[in-house]
Symmetry: C2
Amino acid sequence: MARSTTISMAVIRRLPRYYRFLEELMKKGVTRVSSNELATLLGLTASQIRQDLNCFGGFGQQGYGYLVEQLHEEIGKILGLNHMLDAILVGAGNLGRAVANHLDFGKRGFRLSAVFDHAPELIGKTVRDLPIRSMDELDVFCRTQHPRLAVLCIPKEAAADIVSHLQSLGIQAFWNFSHYDITLEDAIVENVHLGDSLMTLSYRMKHPNE
Amino acid sequence: MARSTTISMAVIRRLPRYYRFLEELMKKGVTRVSSNELATLLGLTASQIRQDLNCFGGFGQQGYGYLVEQLHEEIGKILGLNHMLDAILVGAGNLGRAVANHLDFGKRGFRLSAVFDHAPELIGKTVRDLPIRSMDELDVFCRTQHPRLAVLCIPKEAAADIVSHLQSLGIQAFWNFSHYDITLEDAIVENVHLGDSLMTLSYRMKHPNE
């Protein structure tokens, strides 16, 4: 598969949506889909879809469309979902437990391998069959098990210190739910700001004619 | 304040970040900030910041910068945070409760006014001091209290039916956490796909040199 070398983040952020919609089509027994049909489903234009997929070498045939299962599998490979990396959850409060329970990490390229919290009353309870460990165990765990991703569900005040400590322990990427922007040049970061999403809704509801 | 008429979603999505960073500066006692300083904080360029704020009439003075508190207040007004709309939470499972507890809706333009679930064992428990109500009460509540936003933390299978029912009850906007894309032309929707964010991380970690 030919592949262009620089792919924009905008294209990359659309890939998970393609992947999900193709999975839906597979469940419905659809085997072939045109770029026009995909476009209608996704609310994009057919030419944008063709352009996006062409970044990865293109998969469709003129006048024939895409084979749903094949395209789903190829996008999964591009997303790296067939190659599991170890992840840890730091912060097992309401949000941390909800994120861990809500999402199947294994379907998205990660193995959730340990959960940490500093609250004594949580230690020993379980999240997705994983025991919640004391933060005292974090260093040894990371040095022996080498997890690559940390999911951060901790208070804002604690975030900056924990992030640099986790980096020193070999964590390369952060999925950050704390109300704190991680801005690191030498790490991969997804900041999930739920509050920003809510404020965007506020704007859109209060300026309905734009 | 002069205001250009069409403002792109990209600009709108940056406003909450400006708002948060300005709040941080206020907490640190900073009263004035240049577009260069803001740019460094936010990881944007100074000219992009000036362009964004010019969409709303511009607030800074050449060579003087922005007054932090004033700009914070103005952006808050643009986001509509001073004008509360009623919101309901539908689905008080792990994720629903975590979202309600994690976020201060009042600081983001909404008043969380009721919580609904269909599970008998949850009815009567509380989330943020609100009793969890039976779904049987939903229609009467909406018809008498006229909430405008529904926060959906329900299983994918239930989402399509509930969305159209909520629309018929006058709900105008959806903050959707279910694994289902709401695509409605006559409603305002923010789909929060945590799984997509995780798959994006998978891509970025497995193609580190892009």
